[in-house]
């Protein structure tokens, strides 16, 4: 075993201070993730002044743990009240909430917990072994490759839609169109702002998400105030937390592996994070599933694969941050700052000079996921009690949380209004069976997609050849075409099948 790894193990596993801080950070992370509107980024930014008094390893331990735990905890409000705690949960919000309404909230959250932990462990391990080599591959990606990658992520949202391609595509394009409101990042010009300075910042996806999922659900529930609380339908705690996960592991041992590898791969690319990993994993999972028709209606397979994927992607974002000083997401941007404060400069030689530190970061990912098990289990136990509260008492409180959550992101009252507007849009989309999840993804990826589109066009002096004249770009374009082709063929086949059935 190499020396740096041995030393890192000693620093991480034998130091009670690290254990203590990981435990506290896990509780804080679960809380942040479970509160709609509060993000891991915000929690980490608040924590930064405290890192001055900490040694590098405990300081990074706290950040790693917060992030790893927040991504799981985002599933708790998703399941219980249908407000995704993090954007990554939007990919399987329908499944988790459908299970909760059937009185199986415990099963949904248990699956999410076990597969988040499993994905996180595998992701951490993979990057510890291959991180440096993978970082070199990420350096091949130029704006053109990112364009195809984002397009692929968006296509996945269309593939997984359960009410037909047209309706998923409608959701997606509404989201994309709304993402163009505000000052265009790439042109520096205002669009659709109607002279309102608040609209210059564009539509922030967190208030939008809270409105689309949370507020629209509150509005829908007000129509059935007298219905029993969701938990009342089953007497014993809404399904076991452990058992369904074990049987899923046994039935599909390779699915977990597949999702974690895909998640890690996506995580390494700066600018493609946990939310995209979740969507891509759901799409792959549905493609290979034996029961694709249950997706979107309470499939634990879907939840399991998405959770393994988004959890494993987190460790990946640290690789470009450490090797090139290019942050993979907003959290690692803060981490780079913390590293500088500790006089540790990111760069390719960090693996040689600070090998112990790099190994420590990945060992902490493993430790954090292990600590998440008991903490997450307690959070699920506590969270389930929410479902016992009568609706007429619960709804006003959820409304307050929607408001505060929307406000907390940017400290802006305008965002509260935005949240209400999206709540109404959510109700309309729900009526028309337009996919809300795809809408959120369009809103998130619309900005980056347009930027890469215009950058590629500008780079190629307006020629469309620029989109495919790099080998890697051509390869990714090919993958996209195959994906669309297979979707189109499937749809046509189904269309003719039903038509033939009708005519018989």
């Amino acid at each position: 075993m190499n020396e740096a790894l041995a030393q890192a193990m000693q620093q991480v596993f034998l130091d009670p201070a690290v254990w203590g801080i990981v435990f506290l950070a896990a509780c804080y992370g679960v809380f942040l993730g479970a509160m709609p509107g509060l993000t891991a980024t915000m929690g980490v930014a608040l924590f930064v002044p405290m890192t001055y008094w900490l040694e590098p390893v405990p300081a990074l331990a706290a950040i790693v743990t917060m992030v790893a735990c927040a991504i799981f905890a985002g599933d708790i409000p998703t399941t219980l009240v249908r407000i995704p705690g993090t954007p990554a949960s939007a990919a399987y919000a329908d499944d988790a909430y459908a299970l909760a309404r059937r009185g199986e909230a415990g099963r949904a959250m248990g699956t999410s917990l076990w597969f988040s932990v499993a994905g996180g462990l595998l992701g951490g391990l993979l990057l510890m072994l291959l991180g440096y080599q993978l970082a070199r591959m990420a350096a091949w990606f130029s704006v053109t490759e990112y364009f195809w990658l984002y397009l692929m992520g968006l296509s996945c949202a269309v593939v997984v839609g359960r009410s037909g391609i047209a309706r998923s595509l409608a959701g997606l394009t509404i989201g994309l169109l709304l993402s163009t409101v505000g000052l265009s990042a790439v042109h520096g010009q205002a669009r659709f702002t109607f002279g309102h300075p608040e609209l210059f910042q564009g539509i922030n996806f967190i208030p939008a998400m809270i409105g689309l999922f949370g507020l629209s659900e509150v509005l829908r529930n007000t129509l059935q105030l007298d219905a029993a609380p969701m938990a009342a339908s089953t007497t014993s705690g809404q399904g076991s937390i452990l058992a369904p996960a074990v049987s899923l592991f046994r039935q599909r041992p390779l699915a977990w592996f597949r999702s974690s590898i895909v998640g890690s791969g996506i995580g390494i690319l700066p600018g493609a994070g946990a939310d995209m990993a979740a969507w891509v994993c759901v799409a792959i999972s549905k493609r290979f599933s034996k029961s694709p028709e249950t997706y979107g209606q309470g499939s634990t397979e879907c939840i399991a694969d998405a959770c393994a994927g988004n959890s494993s992607s987190l460790a990946g974002a640290w690789i470009p941050a450490l090797v090139f000083g290019i942050p993979g997401d907003s959290v690692t941007a803060i981490v780079i700052g913390v590293l500088y404060m500790k006089n540790l400069k990111p760069g390719p030689e960090i693996f040689a000079q600070q090998g112990t530190l790099v190994y420590s970061i990945y060992l902490i990912f493993l430790l954090a996921n292990l600590v998440l098990l008991p903490v997450g289990w307690l959070a699920i136990k506590a969270g389930r009690e929410v479902l016992r509260i009568p609706r007429r008492v619960l709804l006003p409180v959820i409304l307050l949380f929607c408001i505060v959550g929307a406000f907390a992101v940017n400290g802006s009252s305008f965002d509260v209004g935005l949240m209400v507007a999206f709540g109404l849009l959510g109700v309309i989309c729900e009526r028309a069976q337009i996919s809300i999840g795809a809408l959120v993804l369009g809103l998130i990826l619309g900005g980056p997609l347009e930027e890469r589109f215009v950058q590629t066009l500008a780079g190629g002096q307006g020629s469309l050849i620029a989109f495919v004249n790099r080998p890697l770009a051509a390869l990714l374009a090919g993958v996209c075409l195959v994906l669309w082709g297979s979707v189109a063929i499937n749809t046509l086949r189904r269309h003719f099948a039903t038509r033939n059935a009708d005519s018989v």
């Binding site: 980024t41 915000m42 930014a45 608040l46 930064v48 002044p49 350096a139 091949w140 130029s142 704006v143 037909g164 047209a166 394009t173 169109l177 163009t180 000052l183 790439v186 042109h187 520096g188 205002a190 669009r191 659709f192 210059f200 910042q201 564009g202 509150v218 509005l219 007000t222 129509l223 700066p270 090797v323 090139f324 000083g325 290019i326 907003s330 941007a333 803060i334 780079i336 700052g337 500088y340 006089n343 400069k345 760069g347 390719p348 008492v393 709804l395 006003p396 409304l399 307050l400 408001i403 406000f407 907390a408 940017n410 400290g411 802006s412 009252s413 509260v416 109404l424 215009v454 500008a458």
Partner: protein, 440 residues
């Protein structure tokens, strides 16, 4: 009926505990908000949070950073300038304040602020990949001049500080600012990634932003647009040393809205001066790779005025106007998407023809749903005046009553939830919830 009574007691104790924090007349007597116009994790955010932590010690009240991001800095600067001028809202202002209004993106200028303290200045630098054929500025200039628009550059979005820096240099050398094609990429990090991937030929950004890749010898710097070499990057020659008279820098500083009372400005300026001159900030700036450069209110104001004139010349001159006209206009993408949306909506309508009639028309009581919307609107309208605590308590209590929950449960529950949310978000997580005119 024991439960409501214990509820009630808890509530009274909590409410009294909160009310106990009496109001004081001296300034500052409530938390201060520092508006950062850039996102969490970036350089400006790091400086903001460091300053906030130190300012907190100087003033004895919490100083919370909020990131009002987007619009290339328009959002944050506008919110800072339009904030209630009572000294409890400060703004981190950046070089874009001198640029945005010349580009017609906002009416906010440096005159809307009372500057308190200039903190740092970082000069622009040109970077190429390690295997690039260029070794100095003259070679790069010759290549740009030889094949107009052949070479691609990036570093920030269109019209950002590093773009202006490059355009200004080309202009000073007698070249068209469009002689190098600017690829608009948001942020120095992604631009450097693009440089690494071979998508652009050179990048213009500050040296600290490229520190990791300079140290890893993946990129080289051809020169820095500063009067003298930058501490920590002594190996990088200045433009002047290579015979190119051109320097430009980005800066950051703290300011208050213009109409803040002078006696409060004096208190804030004194505290900011102490923060600026502290060894802690100096260490932070050195470690973070920022070039500490201090100036008090008068000197800062003079710098702002001078800089504004420099940017006026660059940004309103014919040279820059010519590159503002974009080839791939801002409406291409929305137009494509809108076309796609019309197509899909058409196909959805086609699919669902005839299904409308089948849906049974259910009779539902819409009043609770309308009450929820009304409550949310009430909050939006009233929160700024009434403050979060009273507004949220009214909202929850009102809705509970509309939903026919008994008063004896509704009132204490509303108070308890409100106080708990306030404690967690405003005090624990430092979200600056509205305090209202009653300051509570």
């Amino acid at each position: 009926m024991r439960e409501p009574i214990t509820f009630f007691r808890c509530t009274i104790i909590l409410v009294l505990a909160l009310a106990g924090c009496g109001r004081e007349s001296r300034f500052p007597h409530q938390p201060i908000t520092l508006i950062c116009p850039w996102s969490a994790g970036g350089g400006t955010d790091r400086v903001s949070r460091q300053v906030a932590a130190q300012l907190e010690e100087e003033l004895g009240v919490p100083v919370n950073v909020i990131n009002a991001t987007g619009g290339s800095g328009v959002t944050g600067h506008t919110r800072g300038a339009r904030a209630r001028p009572d000294g409890h809202t400060l703004a981190m202002i950046t070089v874009e304040l001198n640029m945005l209004h010349w580009r017609g993106l906002t009416s906010v200028t440096y005159r809307d602020f009372a500057p308190l303290q200039l903190l740092n200045r970082d000069s622009a630098a040109l970077l190429v990949r390690a295997d690039s054929p260029f070794t100095n500025l003259d070679e790069l200039q010759a290549a740009i001049a030889a094949g107009p628009a052949k070479l691609k550059a990036s570093g920030t979005a269109y019209g950002g500080i590093w773009h202006v820096a490059l355009a200004g240099w080309l202009h000073a050398r007698g070249l068209e600012p469009t002689a190098a094609t600017w690829i608009s990429i948001n942020g120095a990090g992604p631009s450097l990634q693009e440089l690494n991937a071979g998508g652009v030929d050179f990048v213009c950004c500050s040296l600290p932003e490229a520190d990791a890749m300079l140290a890893g010898e993946q990129v080289r710097s051809l020169g820095v647009m500063a009067e003298k070499r930058v501490p920590g990057f002594e190996g990088v020659p200045t433009f002047r040393e290579q015979g190119h008279e051109w320097s430009i820098a980005g800066w950051r500083g703290v300011a208050a809205p213009r109409d803040t009372p002078p006696e409060r400005l004096a208190i804030l300026a004194e505290a900011m001066q102490k923060v600026g001159q502290s060894g802690e900030l100096a260490t932070f700036m050195r470690n973070a790779g920022f070039n500490l450069s201090l100036a008090g209110p008068e000197e800062f104001a003079a710098t702002l005025e001078r800089q504004d004139e420099i940017f006026r010349v660059i940004l309103t001159g014919p040279a820059f106007q010519s590159i503002s006209g974009e080839h791939f206009g801002p409406m291409i993408f929305p137009a494509i998407i809108a076309g796609l949306l019309l197509l899909t909506l058409g196909s959805v309508a086609w699919q669902s023809r005839g299904q409308q009639a089948q849906r049974p028309r259910e009779k539902t009581d819409l009043r609770p749903a309308i009450a929820v919307l009304a409550a949310a609107l009430f909050y939006i309208v009233a929160a700024e005046w009434l403050g979060f605590v009273s507004c949220a308590a009214l909202l929850v209590a009102g809705l509970l009553v509309v939903f026919r929950v008994r008063l004896v449960l509704a009132l204490p529950l509303a108070a308890l939830v409100t106080v708990a949310v306030y404690q967690v978000f405003a005090i624990g997580l430092r979200v600056p919830l509205p305090r209202g005119l009653l300051d509570w």
